[in-house]
């Protein structure tokens, strides 16, 4: 919403400066976005008088002028054809910035003669495009500031323009009058009343109006009148200046008048060329399929139920949103029908959204205009049309009635103070409401017709607080828990924090990627169905909720590789989505290793990443999240994993904690990532919460006796899993065997095809007496038996 200072002053009697007004508006909740003050740009220009002008000795077109200024007589060289003795001019002295030529004036020599300034044209001061000569003023004192002179003699030229942002609850501030009312309520001046005397009709309106019964809820009131014999030329300068200042293009007097009231009083109007209307005007609901070319020169097809204004030939206007081109006024219009109607905000919003029309009328009606002002607005407009275009007005024709908006709420002065926490005397509270147009009847505040947003007692509090100024609010300590604050994070929240910090400690860089990805990438990871599809994505790259964090990380890897970073360790913790309903999401901890473990180095330590890297990291993270040490590893992962190189970490087949492995080459191809790529995904919420209640740990049991280690090498089939062998060996004597650790794997050589050797170290920890060689032998035999039984393995000879 834009307006100028002088426009505001039409409604507000005030001596406040532009700065004060702007500051107050922001404080009132009418946030100022911009103030552009043309006078500021012209502040350094002063008025001077040319007392002599002679031809430059070395240039035919230049004149050497003697100019009286506030700093005495100055010699100025000037090339303007109208520079001559006796004229009053605008002077830019050395040091003055001239916006139109983007130059700061300096003392200089022009063809050998010194010049101490410049006399300016309108274009040089960005006042207009006129550059045929320097400005000649009809009045003005030497030394007077030019902007002061303009303010006195041509105020529109230096009228500051203020732009404010209007929150959706304040339709009343979409008119300059409403803005003035707020400022007056704060005490920044007094609101000027706007009396009007209804214009008497001289003849019956030849155009009748009606509202269909089924449309009265959407258009309770429709009024208008014909004015005949108008001349619709350009509107007067003051009106054109106003509209231009706020960014509107003047069109013709009739159209400009409707625009004026839209911004002056938040009262949208429409004018029909009465001679193009056949029969009366009827407000009704569209059957659907009716078409109409609107004033924006676009064709619209009405949907069933939308409100239209039709004459005998069909729809002529989309009610409350935009008029039709067919019956619009032109320069040739002599008889005009002025419409002022009241439309229901919900229906305007729905129609406007459906037809995608953003007009000033829709913007206002969908926020709510003042229903009581429908007829006064028509009278104001009539008066202005008669003043500017001449003609003769008919009687007013009215269909429907002003809808009932009466409501009142109790003002509880004590509660206002309790909610806001600021001392505001009751008398001030009542005065505020009165100035805003509320009618107080005891404790009851009757809401003015222009405030559709006030719907309860809380709204009265807001009005009082806002006018009293929240800037004055002083902080009051919030009572805090006594003593040392308790921890606030839930076990799951702490677990995710632990996972995040551990992952970074393992050398991964944390990413935060968008929750939505393209359909193709989602589909690669089991997603991309309609349930997870956005109805209105901003691009096809962000069309589906991610089924996994992997595609986002792979895309990140691909982008980084394109920048020349080939070796990556990335991770993310966040939700992945299995459906489109609330709760169909689960947090994942996902890490991705791509390329080598590091750059090539002198130590030869760099190597391609492999499955055992991500396995180690997944195990470290599960440990950090409190998962049990003993887990199962299955191989039934989804098809984006390498079929032979992944493991599903679980506590039983249904209780999956995570998965690690190499990504399928097909996936890397599809996502443009140069492999190898290893990854893990963990589900932090799947890890069981510990059962223990206190912080106490079990006592540490230290064995006094020396542990004994024995190595075994078994030859097994190549597809025997090491874990099976380890578990079998460990089962040989659960009390005595502390650990079984694989330390070597060997294939080839004399073992032959399809066989491998696995070597393990078994650590025996005696508890009550030192082991004898015979006892060690006995355990060893059992280990070999167990392993043979479980895996078919035999001791390597």
């Amino acid at each position: 919403m834009k307006f100028t200072l002088s426009w505001l002053k039409d409604h507000l009697d005030t001596t406040a400066s532009v700065d004060e007004i702007a500051e107050t508006l922001t404080d009132l909740g009418l946030e100022v976005e911009e103030v552009s003050n043309p006078a500021e740009r012209l502040a350094d220009f002063t008025i001077g008088k040319v007392i002599a002008a002679e031809k430059h000795p070395d240039a035919d077109r230049l004149k050497v002028c003697k100019v009286l200024t506030d700093e005495g007589e100055k010699q100025i060289i000037c090339g303007a054809p109208n520079a001559r003795e006796g004229i009053t001019v605008v002077v830019a002295k050395p040091g003055t910035y001239v916006p139109g030529i983007d130059t700061t004036i300096q003392v200089g020599k022009i063809r050998g003669i010194e010049s101490h300034g410049m006399m300016a044209s309108e274009r040089e001061m960005e006042l207009s495009d006129v550059h045929s000569g320097i400005i000649e003023l009809p009045s003005g004192e030497v030394g007077q500031s030019f902007s002061d002179w303009l303010a006195e003699n041509d105020p529109a030229r230096v009228d500051p323009v203020i732009e404010i942002a209007i929150t959706p609850n304040r339709p009343d501030a979409l008119g300059v009058h409403g803005i003035a009312r707020d400022l007056a309520a704060r005490g920044l001046g007094t609101l000027k009343p706007r009396e009007y005397i209804p214009v008497e009709g001289h003849f019956p309106s030849p155009i009748a109006v009606s509202i269909d019964d089924d449309t009265l809820d959407g258009c309770p009131l429709f009024a208008g009148r014909v004015i005949r014999g108008v001349r619709n030329g350009p509107s007067p300068q003051w009106l054109q200046d106003r509209l231009r200042a706020i960014g509107l293009r003047p069109i013709s007097a009739l159209v400009d008048i409707t625009n004026f009231f839209t911004f002056d009083r938040n009262r949208p109007l429409h004018v029909f060329d009465a001679d193009k209307v056949s029969g009366g005007l009827r407000v009704h609901r569209a059957k659907g399929g009716e078409t109409l070319r609107a004033l924006d020169e676009k064709d619209y097809t009405l949907q069933p139920g939308m409100m239209a204004i039709s004459d005998e030939t069909g729809p002529e206007s989309i009610g409350g949103i935009m008029g039709g081109e067919q019956t619009g006024v032109t320069e040739d219009t002599v008889n005009v029908f002025v419409e002022s109607a009241y439309w229901d905000h919900v229906q305007i919003a729905l129609t406007g959204r459906a037809l995608k029309i953003n007009s000033d009328a829709r913007y206002r009606f969908e926020r709510g205009v003042d229903p009581e002002f429908t007829l006064p607005g028509l009278e104001h407009a009539t008066r202005m049309i008669l003043d500017l275009c001449g003609g003769e007005a008919s009687d007013v024709v009215i269909a429907g009635d002003v809808p009932n908006h009466a409501r009142a709420y109790r003002l509880d002065a004590a509660r206002v103070q309790r909610l806001v926490g600021m001392e505001i005397p009751e008398s001030d509270q009542r005065q505020t409401l009165t100035r805003l147009g509320f009618r107080l009847e005891g404790d009851l505040a009757h809401v003015p017709s222009w405030r559709p947003d006030v719907q309860g007692e809380a709204d009265l509090v807001e009005e009082v607080a806002r006018i009293a100024s929240l800037t004055r609010l002083e902080g009051v300590p919030l009572p805090r828990p006594f003593g040392v604050p308790k921890p606030v994070m839930t076990p799951i929240q702490r677990r995710k924090q632990m996972a995040r910090r551990t992952c970074a400690a393992l050398g991964y860089n944390e990413c935060v990627s968008y929750s939505f990805i393209d359909q193709a990438s989602a589909a690669l990871f089991g997603g991309g169905d309609d349930a997870t599809m956005l109805e209105n994505p901003i691009s096809s790259e962000m069309s589906h909720m991610r089924p996994s964090l992997l595609p986002g990380l792979l895309q990140a890897a691909s982008r980084n590789q394109a920048r020349g970073y080939m070796d990556l360790a990335l991770f993310e913790i966040g939700p992945a989505f299995s459906g489109g309903e609330p709760g169909e999401q689960a947090d994942q901890v996902t890490g991705l290793l791509v390329g080598r473990t590091g750059a090539k180095d002198v130590h030869g330590a760099s190597r391609p990443v492999d499955v055992y890297d991500v396995k180690a990291d997944a195990e470290a993270l599960l440990g950090a999240m409190g998962a049990p040490e003993k887990v199962q590893i299955l191989r039934n992962g989804a098809d984006w994993w390498h079929p032979g190189r992944h493991g599903v970490i679980c506590l039983g087949p249904k209780k999956v904690l995570g998965i690690f492995g190499e990504l399928h080459p097909r996936i890397l191809d599809a996502m443009g990532v140069k492999g190898p790529a290893m990854a893990f995904t963990l589900w932090p919420e799947a890890v069981p919460l510990p059962r223990k209640a206190g912080a106490t740990r079990p006592a540490l049991e230290l064995a006094d006796l020396q542990a004994v280690e024995r190595d075994f090498a078994f030859v097994v089939d190549a597809d025997v899993e090491a874990l099976a062998l380890v578990n079998a060996a460990a089962g040989a004597d659960k009390a005595l065997i502390e650990t079984v650790r694989v330390f070597d794997q060997f294939t080839g050589g004399s073992l032959g095809e399809g066989r491998k050797s696995l070597a393990v170290t078994v650590r025996l920890q005696p508890r009550d007496k030192t082991l004898t060689e015979a006892e060690i032998e006995a355990v060893s035999r059992r280990i070999v038996e167990k392993v043979a039984k479980a895996t078919g393995g035999v001791l390597r000879g």
């Binding site: 609010l473 919030l478 604050p485 995040r500 050398g507 939700p575 473990t597």
Partner: protein
């Protein structure tokens, strides 16, 4: 005797290696060595002679023994020195590579915010990112036709043609978490709700996903003045500027009444933003007293309880605090950015250890 001493000490000093030393030992104090032989002669001496010669002989033996040991140690040291001289390494070669992980600024700042509000008794509530339009809008006093709905640039989830339920939305703020939390715990309550939110907007300063933290405090007599104090305490702790000023400006949000936008004090020096000094103001936050309709939607009786709510952008305050210029880069996962703006893994923000690095 003195001859003997001079002879052997001289030879020990000249010995070139351990085997030479051993030969000297045998020759001097070995069983058949010269000193040993001399010792045997003690038996033939008179007691008087023996009293003089005995200790002298023992002293000679001890002196030769210790000279042998000293020479042996010296030879050993020399050998070790010689070996170490050959073990020179170029220690300016690069060390073994060790990957440095980082924490994303969004995570770090979320932890900072959590630490501060935990101190004031706020716990952390979380909720779904896809939510119903009731939780995201209606419960927050934004009915279907409300212009605020259109202005929020909401992402809607797809509905099949034969499904006439209103479409779910990607939450446009974390306010639905407030409603869910109120439903669950009732009043009194103090929570913050950090997390990702979504709006259909993408340009210099907007991304379709960003992060918010909202706060909610409900009790019998919590006022807007308490809100102001809480926010001033927060900003002072977060930006580490004592006495940072805030400015409350009246505004409008459907879910609070009265509502205020909150600015913090700042200045621009040579194009650099400085928080907590100067005469300019920077808008950082929206807030207000929770609207009675919102309390009711959360199952709390507005005649008995009242309180405040606020919301601010985590990414935004991260940008302000750490001087990060571009919001879009937060979600681009550019390794160079992650390393430059990321935080060390063990750099956990705490109030006792400090919040920023």
């Amino acid at each position: 005797m003195d001859d003997l001493k001079a002879k052997y000490l001289g030879r020990i000093a000249d010995a070139a290696d351990e085997s030479a030393l051993e030969a000297i030992r045998l020759a001097a104090i070995g069983k058949k060595g010269e000193v040993a032989l001399k010792m045997r002669e003690l038996g033939k001496m008179t007691p008087e002679e023996r009293q003089i010669a005995g200790p002298a002989m023992n002293a000679l033996k001890a002196e030769i023994t210790s000279a042998l040991a000293a020479r042996k140690a010296a030879l050993h040291d020399a050998a070790l020195d010689e070996r170490l001289r050959g073990e020179w390494l170029d220690v300016t070669l690069p060390a073994r590579d060790r990957r440095q992980g980082t924490i994303h600024p969004v995570s770090q700042v979320t932890e900072e915010v959590t630490a501060i509000f935990a101190e004031m008794g706020f716990s952390v509530a979380e909720g779904p990112r896809i939510d119903t339009d009731w939780y995201n809008f209606d419960a927050l006093n934004i009915p279907a036709h409300h212009p605020a709905r259109a202005e929020m640039d909401t992402f809607y989830m797809h509905r099949d043609a034969d499904d006439d339920r209103p479409p779910n939305v990607l939450r446009t703020h974390t306010s639905p978490v407030q409603i869910r939390s109120m439903e669950k715990t009732g009043a009194p309550t103090r929570i913050i709700c950090p997390g990702g939110v979504y709006r259909a907007d993408y340009d210099q300063t907007h991304t379709p996903m960003f992060h918010q933290v909202e706060g909610l405090a409900i009790d019998r007599d919590i006022s807007m003045a308490n809100l102001k104090w809480v926010l001033e305490e927060f900003f002072a702790a977060f930006f580490e500027v004592d006495g940072i000023k805030t400015r409350f400006r009246a505004s409008h949000f459907p879910f609070t009444e009265p509502s205020a936008e909150v600015d913090i004090q700042c200045s621009w020096v040579d194009g650099q933003l400085r928080i907590g000094e100067g005469d300019d103001w920077m808008e950082v936050l929206g807030s207000g007293m929770v609207h009675p309709s919102v309390l009711r939607a959360g199952g709390i009786d507005p005649d008995e309880w009242q309180g405040f709510a606020f919301g601010m952008g985590i990414d935004r305050i991260a940008m302000l605090k750490y001087g990060i210029p571009d919001l879009r880069a937060f979600f681009d996962s550019d390794l160079r950015w992650l390393r430059h703006y990321g935080f060390a893994s063990l750099d956990v923000p705490t109030l006792h250890g400090g919040l920023s690095r």
